[in-house]
């Protein structure tokens, strides 16, 4: 109890300094939580598009980005005909723009695609899709920001399209996207005879290895990955995640420097007090524990406050209409645990030098100058 009081007392003795350190850690944690959650949400949303009613994704081997992948239509037909395949849906991704929105994701799909099957139709029907080569279905949010309704014409890129339907999906990318008939999308993006990926659902999950082997054998330039496998290995996702953690890590590093500064000051201003503790039987280990305890307390407080700020910030982001559907505010427990552990580690690392310094204080030298 007294040991804890020694720790707390010292933090309370210099309240402003302690608060600044806590704020440093808190803002770092909030930044890390926000960046990691938003990017992880984005990654999950994008992988959600690919895994819509499918288990396997086939795309061009060694492409850095799926937008550059080219899967020949002939491969779609062949793979669809394999008995183990329940359905194989080609998807062509493209980026288009409208007058107000520079980036709108465009999905070139067939009328059998799971996205259309699973969506809630706000306007139009699924049967309307594909009849008119210039007919597009808009996600609800895309319809909102384009101020479009069924029957209207919208300008996308350099062309005009008729809106034949408006759908609502849970996925932010899809909800803000444009769905075109595959052939129209191929013509629009000058990718005739190809799609970006094929999403495949098998009759039995046990056939996954066989499908992968068949694709490898029949189409060496293509690769078939399970959805989870794809999410893990797709380089863009890896880069995004690494960037998120790196940016957050830099924030924490700054917070850690704040803790280090506080702890250094804390030790330097009470050399005599530490000497007295030594004379009264405190071991170097107990002194170090006290210093690390102070920094751990700062870090834990900072982490808790940071998690609250970060969560509040994520909710605020979700409320912004332009970001509706794009920000997934569900903070993963693993992220919370990692963030807290990183904050603790940062705090403890920041206290390393001060703790070592404190353990090396020679009581006799500190006491000689009364």
């Amino acid at each position: 109890m007294i040991f804890l009081k020694l720790i707390v007392t010292n933090l309370l003795r210099h309240r402003i300094r302690s608060l600044i350190s806590i704020a440093g850690i808190a803002f770092s944690v909030a930044a890390m939580l926000t960046i990691v959650t938003v990017l992880q949400g984005a990654v999950e949303m994008f992988s959600g598009i690919l895994s819509s009613d499918s288990q396997i994704i086939v795309f061009e081997r060694n492409v850095s980005d799926l937008f550059f992948s080219s899967v020949p239509s002939e491969a779609v037909q062949t793979i669809s005909s394999w008995p183990i395949v329940q359905h194989a849906d080609p998807v062509l991704f493209g980026i288009v723009s409208s007058s107000d929105h520079p980036i709108i994701t465009c999905f070139g799909i067939t009328d059998a695609d799971a996205r259309l099957r699973k969506a809630s139709w706000i306007g139009g029907t699924r049967e309307d899709f594909g009849k008119d080569p210039n007919g597009v279905v808009l996600g609800q949010r895309a319809a909102e920001f384009m101020s479009a309704t069924v029957g209207k014409t919208v300008e996308i890129g350099h062309a005009a399209f008729h809106v034949v339907g408006v759908i609502k999906t849970a996925n932010g990318f899809e909800d803000g996207g444009v769905f075109m008939p595959l052939s129209s999308a191929q013509a629009f993006f000058h990718k005739e005879g190809s799609s970006s990926v094929i999403t495949i659902k098998l009759r039995s999950k046990e056939d996954i290895p066989e499908l992968k082997a068949s694709v490898r054998r029949s189409y060496p330039s293509l690769v078939a990955l399970e959805d989870e496998e794809f999410t893990r290995s797709y380089s863009q996702f890896k880069i995004l995640k690494a960037t998120a953690w790196a940016v957050g890590g830099c924030g924490l590093l700054l917070g850690g420097l704040g803790v280090a500064n506080t702890m250094i000051m804390s030790v330097f201003t009470r050399i005599r007090e530490i000497a007295i503790l030594r004379v009264n039987g405190f071991s170097p280990g107990q002194i170090a524990t006290m210093i690390f305890g102070e920094s751990a307390l700062v870090s834990v407080f900072g982490a808790v406050v940071g998690l609250l700020i970060g969560t509040a910030f994520l909710f605020a982001l979700k409320l912004i209409p332009a970001l509706h559907g794009y920000v997934d505010t569900s903070v993963q427990p693993s992220v919370v645990v990692i963030v807290i552990l990183l904050a603790l580690m940062t705090g403890v690392t920041g206290a390393l030098y001060p703790a070592v310094y404190a353990t090396r204080i020679r009581a006799v030298e500190a006491l000689r100058f009364e």
Binding site: I2, F3, K5, L6, T9, N10, L12, R13, R272, E273, I276, L277, R278, V279, N280, G281, F282, S283, Q286, R362, A363, V364, L367, R368, E370
Partner: protein, 231 residues
């Protein structure tokens, strides 16, 4: 059959043999071949001018520092040069300084319990001991007081309690009443002598105050880093 009337010599608890100590790489020689023997239960006053080596000798006897040359033994165990004096500081030796050296933001009670926390003493035993010492020193009504609220005499009595919390057999006091006025000084010193007598503690005290020194069982005169013990 004959019986001796002589009381047996008490055991030696402190022994310094030909101790030399200097600072600043030998530039300042503080102790020059000091020999000192402290017996169990006796009270010894180290007198002498500032800089004669009184405090340094106390620090060496308490294991806070190591001699350049010579040997120090406490309770018949020789201290290793630059060894770990933890056991010594936790269980065998207590220190009282001129300045009380209490931690200002803690209460009297918490300050006194610090050595027991360091030594991992049972909490109940620690509180019993605290009650015993504060009763003796008249501080039991001030247990919850912050150090800033205590008078100089109370602070020094608190420091005395803290030094004796783990029941050390040796008390090393460096000008324990040096920062107090005359009457408070006499009162604290009375208390100090009473407690060490009751507990059978060996007291070695550095002081400038000849009157207080004269009340100790033995007075040792130090000059220029050497001991000149009057016989």
């Amino acid at each position: 059959m004959t019986t001796s009337n002589r009381s047996p010599t008490p055991p030696i608890v402190l022994l310094a043999t030909d101790v030399w100590k200097s600072y600043d790489d030998g530039a300042i020689a503080v102790l020059r071949g000091v020999n000192f023997t402290g017996f169990q239960g006796e009270t010894v006053a180290l007198c002498g001018p500032s800089g004669c080596g009184k405090s340094t000798l106390l620090h060496l006897l308490g294991g806070l520092d190591s001699p350049d040359i010579g040997r120090i033994a406490v309770n018949s165990r020789e201290l290793k040069p630059f060894g770990n004096p933890l056991h010594l500081l936790r269980h065998e030796v207590g220190f009282v300084f001129q300045l009380h050296n209490l931690i200002p933001d803690l209460t009297l009670e918490e300050n006194c319990l610090i050595p027991t926390v360091a030594a991992g003493l049972d909490r109940k035993a620690a509180r019993d001991r605290l009650r015993e010492l504060t009763d003796r020193t008249g501080l039991s009504h001030r247990l919850g007081s912050k150090i800033q609220k205590l008078s100089g005499g109370e602070r020094q009595r608190t420091a005395l309690c803290r030094a004796l919390m783990n029941k050390p057999r040796i008390l090393l006091a460096d000008e324990p009443t040096g920062s107090l006025d005359e009457s408070t000084s006499a009162m604290v010193f009375d208390l100090l002598l009473e407690i060490v007598a009751n507990e059978g503690v060996t007291l070695v005290m550095a002081t400038h105050d000849r009157t207080l020194a004269a009340r100790c069982g033995r007075l040792i005169e130090m000059r220029d880093g050497s001991i000149h013990e009057p016989f």
